[in-house]
Symmetry: none
DNA sequence: GATGAATGAGTGTTCATTCAT
DNA sequence: GATGAATGAACACTCATTCAT
């Protein structure tokens, strides 16, 4: 029981190092690099995450949980959906992994987290659609796909234009006015 | 002059194989796989493209040229811009490379092609903005970024929803009506 | 601290295998061959010596250190210089690397060892020249070059004539008698 | 019969290019480089010299023939032997191949040339030994080995000290004066 | 005969994973 | 549990040699 403290700590350090490394350089960074940055041996990484894919999945799951938590905090006001999108994109600086999280590229480990996020997200979307501010014909999965695209766009914009991708997507998602 | 026939044929076969392989599985596919699919030896790939990067660049340049050619065929009607976007996205099935083409990740070999595309694209965008159908504040480079995002979105949509990403982007890019 | 045992052992085994292989067949032997002869995997060789050049450098440095050590043991008698030359040539059985060591073809790893040898060698030469038994106009660097030549000669002599090259060189290096 | 002119010319061009390339950079230069410098295709090189080893052998044989010719021109004066050694070393600028020529590393193609050189060389040496200016106990083969060493030495000396290796070797080869 | 494209085995090096300590 | 050395299958790339034209 006592030596567990180190293990927990190491797991967290590895996750942090992995989040940074994957975010900055993509998933092709060697595990050795992550191990080094986490201050642990290469074997320790594998004890916690038997496979590289498992580590990637864990990083994603971790992030999804955060996002799900944030979604739950938001109310059900019509505009909350857009606020959430903004936060999601904002937090998506390390989009290389997060965008992967938003399609099916999630290891088994992340299944639960994905489901959690899904539930929270569904509510926000439903509220916005109910209020008539978002196109009624898009599903949560489709918004995910659009979000992945927004992240890709944002990563290609110069810093001073950050937000343009989201802006366009939001404008495109808003329900058309009755006259059309 | 005559033995060139084989060389030309092989070059084309390699490019085709590379386009497919890169498109399907990303640029991490081994060159050996591409060589095999093209029905040539590994060395032949290197004779035509001394570096893997060169091969990637060539695949991209090839595609950019096609797109530039198509852009030139289009007139300067206001809506032509959207038609072109649609074609671009349509042709972007192998988005993994094309999306790379739309930011700066182009080898020197592709420089000319990129310039060609740029010119054609600029004209279409200018016409559409002149006609007041596209937001006046976006530049061609920014539309490129948005396009990359659309491709990312499209690749994550189920077949029956193909086009939704583009639809949203176009809606978002249209100039807001005066009353707003 | 404890697992180092294997590492130390492997490093030594690799160095030994490399010394033999390089000595016998020149530096063009594949690293795989060396790995195999050392009884280790290919990756292990690279862990200890990140580059082939580094391995070559280490083999050379190793040998230079031995030689420098031996030089230090010798006194400053006039004839000690010749004794040392003899030992050097004797130990130069694997001349392919040692001869490379005697000109500038040494990686950075060997710099310290080369300096060590140089110092020891300079002393011996100076003593011999001071005693008037060696031509006063040759520098240590030049003797190195001559030595490289002797090694080349020796490697081409049949076993029963071993030593002839050194003999000729020593005779040629001796200070001419006053009457001439 | 008429197209033979090109063939002869190509053979010569290849030999020249090979001599230069091997001399400058050692025998590891790619054949393609030699073909290019000779202004011929890679296949042409192989038509004339079925194997890389054959080309190396031919370059050596070529040089040996020159040397044999020069030896024949010299008379049988006692000092002619030393003059010849000097010329040999002088012409040995591209010592990388020539030194290989002086031991057994000669392909079958060079056998005849080696024999030719041997005869000429034997005479010069015999004359010098007969006149008592060269140690009587060294054979022609041994002088060859010594010569290889001298070439190795010379290649390691700075330009302004060129000749020192030969000087030392000659001094070492001279018959000791009776009193000793 | 000449050309130069094609071949394919081989090289140095990287890296996820395993395992002795 | 942690460590980091060992493993070995890949990979991109080179080059002597073959062969269609």
């Amino acid at each position: 029981m006592s030596p567990r403290a180190d293990a927990v700590r190491n797991r967290a350090r590895i996750l942090t190092a992995a989040r940074e490394a994957f975010g900055r350089d993509g998933v092709d960074v060697p595990l050795d690099t992550i191990a080094e940055r986490a201050g642990v041996g290469a074997g320790t990484v594998h004890r916690h995450f038997p496979t590289k894919e498992a580590l990637i999945g864990a990083v994603i799951a971790d992030r999804l949980d955060q996002l799900a938590g944030r979604a739950a905090e938001l109310g059900d006001q019509a505009e909350d959906f857009f606020i959430y999108l903004a936060e999601l994109v904002d937090s998506g600086r390390d989009n290389l992994v997060l965008s992967a999280a938003l399609d099916g590229t999630i290891g088994t480990e992340g299944a639960a987290s994905a489901a959690r996020l899904s539930g929270a997200f569904d509510s926000l979307l439903a509220a916005a659609q109910g209020a008539g501010v978002v196109r009624a014909d898009v599903t949560a999965a489709e918004v995910h796909a659009i979000l992945a695209g927004v992240l890709a766009t944002e990563s290609r914009l110069p810093p001073e234009r950050r937000g343009l991708g989201l802006e366009v997507a939001i404008a495109g998602l808003r329900a058309s006015p009755p006259s059309r």
